[in-house]
């Protein structure tokens, strides 16, 4: 009996110890951040940066983990569980169930960030939106989306193709996630091939794109088969439109160790990973020669938008058409740039003070883009500012 009592008291203490004080009654309310990440350098920075901005503006921020698979019911349930009476806004990085969340909480202001939001923006052949959450586009309280680097798959494909051309590679192959899950990858792949084909029309030595894109079904590149397929043993480069740091890089390392692929083969891909071993293998003469990711500081945009909406002072030039917007784009494609990101950006920081100190924009830099701070602020200037962040900023 004593043991039982001790256990119950311990649990009570544990629960109480983790409870933190309620938000100030004088604050402007709580903003939920539905995060598709739950750890890592990007996650730590986004949370710290949002908290900094929220504090300056009079809000609190609470992180809600999005469903690990973007399941509509999972996202709805997670938001409902975290919802308290003082919640006024939602910054969403996943779109599964977004329409259900907005129907459940019609007064909630919602803005999207760091995702393509295919469930909202997928179109049919006639151009009509047909995604399961497309209904949010009809809602006044949905404020739009600043996506994950290039919104256009074609633009992404062409950017990677130009990198291949600039590097002088002659035999390349591509990897994508399944089209039903990531339609942009398929579009990017076709954009890549079209660009290379056009280049080949005038090139003295054409570039060969070996085979069709390899579809990775959310599992790593299978080096038991991939490098034994025709032409894959002698590639100059693998272009991964999928998350290559996770799904391609480890397999390439193993393949090189086994001697079943070109030892000088390189990887061009997207995303960011702050694993020290992986980052040490990024650079001109390393395995990963290019990473493309959303500019970290672009998260200013959703915060500014939601602050304007909550405060009832929307930007006068806000178009209201809710089109997807490119974020700032980090093209990390040289040793110098990799070093700059590792050493000078928030991604290399170990505490929040350092993270905020290394960000490209401090509160003083960004505050004039918030209409609640500067009545002359415009949506156009805010958007251009958030799209202007680039890796070169860390090199100054």
């Amino acid at each position: 009996m004593k043991k039982m009592l001790a256990l119950i008291l311990t649990l009570a203490m544990l629960l109480t110890a983790f409870a933190i004080p309620a938000a100030s009654a004088e604050g402007k309310g709580k903003i939920l951040y539905l995060s598709n990440l739950n750890s890592g350098a990007q996650y730590e920075f986004y949370v710290a940066y949002l908290n900094m901005m929220a504090e300056k503006l009079g809000y609190t921020v609470e992180v809600v983990y999005a469903d690990g698979y973007n399941d509509p019911a999972g996202n709805l349930k997670n938001v409902k569980n975290a919802y308290t009476s003082d919640v006024v806004g939602l910054i969403a990085t996943q779109d599964g169930g977004l329409i259900n969340i907005m129907e459940e909480y019609p007064d909630l202001w919602v803005v999207g960030f760091f995702s393509d939001f295919d469930a909202v923006y997928t179109k049919d052949d006639s151009g009509a939106y047909i995604g399961t959450s497309a209904g949010v586009l009809e809602k006044d309280h949905y404020l739009g989306l600043m996506g994950d680097n290039f919104i256009s798959g074609i633009a992404l494909g062409e950017a990677y193709a130009q990198e291949v051309i600039d590097r002088g590679f002659k035999r390349v192959a591509t990897c994508i996630f399944p089209a039903y899950a990531y339609p942009k990858h398929t579009v990017a792949d076709s954009g890549f091939r079209a660009y290379i084909e056009k280049y080949n029309e005038t090139a003295a030595e054409p570039i060969e794109v070996v085979g069709d894109a390899t579809v990775l079904n959310f599992s790593a590149l299978d080096n038991n088969t991939y490098f034994f397929e025709d032409g894959h043993d002698n590639l100059d480069c693998i272009v991964g439109f999928c998350a290559g740091t996770t799904f391609i890089y480890p397999s390439v390392l193993e393949a090189k160790a086994m001697g079943i692929c070109n030892p000088d083969m390189k990887i061009i891909t997207g995303g960011f990973d702050n694993d020290p071993d992986l980052m040490a293998d990024c650079g001109d003469d390393k395995n990963i020669i290019r990473l493309t990711t959303a500019a970290f500081e672009s998260i200013i945009w959703p915060m500014a938008m939601i602050d304007a909406a909550i405060s009832g002072t929307m930007y006068p030039d806000y178009p209201g058409n809710k089109d997807q917007l490119d974020s700032g784009i980090m093209v990390i494609n040289s040793t110098e740039k990799f070093n700059a990101v590792i050493n000078n950006s928030p991604m290399g920081a170990t505490n929040n003070e350092d993270r905020l100190g290394k960000a490209l924009a401090s509160w003083d830099d960004m505050k004039d883009y918030f209409i609640t701070v500067n009545p002359d602020a415009t949506w156009k200037a805010l958007t251009e500012y958030c799209q202007s962040f680039a890796v070169e900023g860390y090199m100054k």
Partner: protein, 331 residues
């Protein structure tokens, strides 16, 4: 009889607690959560008993509870079904696809029931017929259904599908209807579990299959029937899972088998099955699990800490309820 009553009277509180430790821990845990969150959410200016939070709580608990009630039958056999999540995913998908194609939710439910019963029969019989642990056949189904789901969504060219607005799902989002269906399911399954030979034989098989077999019980038949009860419960749960958002995705149901297992353990279900299996474990455990999910964010516990707290509570309950000298794991 007199001797039994006399013996009962002689039982000391310590002996009683030792005998009923599992029930005390599970019910005590639920009561503790209720009292704790009633007080602490009040301090925060919120209330776990507000209409909106009760609705959230019921919405959170319903699918897990519906599945867990059916799963009690399986766990009482000493078995475990790890294909539960993938089954719910498939049925949710089929409800949308067949519902949209036929314009009738009833036809979609019937299609799901037929498939669920077939899977249940194979799942229940395979272990005994092929002389392997029953969990193995459920692992096979988990993988097969995962593949089927991938094929379906690949062919559809999307990760999410939604029900045609012409089919109203409003009823499945009403808390009163959720409670009503759960109560009916509990009553029906409870009747079969406690008052018919289906439940008694299932528990007897869990307690001692050899003795049960030598008593003339058809082991295959009484192993299959619990899976058919589970099949009906899973289709019911899928209705609410899909009805919650009116949509299904390639990931619907992922991890649900773990939710069921955690809920049953939190509810005090003996993993070995047998005569001590109780249907109430499903409700107590699901409610405790959901109370933590709903209550912790209200009192300001950061999301990343909620997992640690849930794990700590789970560990404590397991230490109290599940320690066995031999063979604690289901087969």
């Amino acid at each position: 009889m007199t001797a039994m009553v006399h013996e009962k009277e002689k039982q000391t509180p310590a002996q009683w607690l030792k005998k009923h430790g599992s029930s005390v821990a599970s019910i005590g845990g639920l009561l503790f959560c209720l009292i704790f969150f009633t007080i602490t959410t009040g301090i925060k200016g919120e209330s776990i008993w507000s209409a909106s939070k009760l609705s959230t709580l019921i919405g959170d608990v319903i699918v897990t509870a519906l599945m867990a009630v059916g799963a009690v039958f399986i766990y009482s056999l000493g078995n475990m079904d790890v294909s539960i999540g993938k089954q719910v995913g498939l049925y949710s998908t089929l409800l949308v696809l067949v519902g949209n194609a036929t314009g009738s939710l009833l036809i979609a439910i019937l299609v799901c029931l037929v498939i669920a019963v077939i899977i249940g029969v194979i799942n229940g019989a395979a272990g005994e017929l092929l002389h392997m642990y029953s969990v193995i056949s459920s692992v096979v189904f988990m993988m097969v259904l995962s593949g089927v789901s991938t094929i379906i969504y690949s062919n559809l060219g999307t990760r999410n599908i939604s029900m045609n607005p012409g089919i109203s799902l409003t009823l499945f989002r009403q808390p009163w209807f959720m409670v009503l269906v759960l109560a009916i399911e509990y009553a029906v399954i409870g009747y079969f579990f406690y008052f018919t030979k289906f439940g008694k034989y299932a528990r007897a098989i869990g307690a001692n299959q050899l003795a049960t077999s030598q008593s003339g019980v058809n082991i295959i038949l009484y192993r299959v029937i619990p899976y058919m009860f589970l099949a009906v419960c899973l289709v019911t749960a899928s209705l609410f899972q899909m009805g919650y958002t009116g949509a299904a995705s390639d990931s619907t149901g992922t991890g649900f088998e773990m939710n069921v297992m955690v809920s049953l353990i939190l509810g005090g279900m003996p993993l070995k099955g047998g005569m001590k299996s109780r249907l109430s474990c499903a409700i107590i455990g699901s409610l405790t699990f959901s109370l933590l999910a709903v209550g912790l964010p209200i009192i300001g516990v950061p999301t990343n800490m909620t997992f640690i707290i849930k794990a700590a509570i789970f560990l404590v309950v397991v230490l109290i309820t599940c320690r066995q000298k031999t063979g604690p794991l289901p087969r």
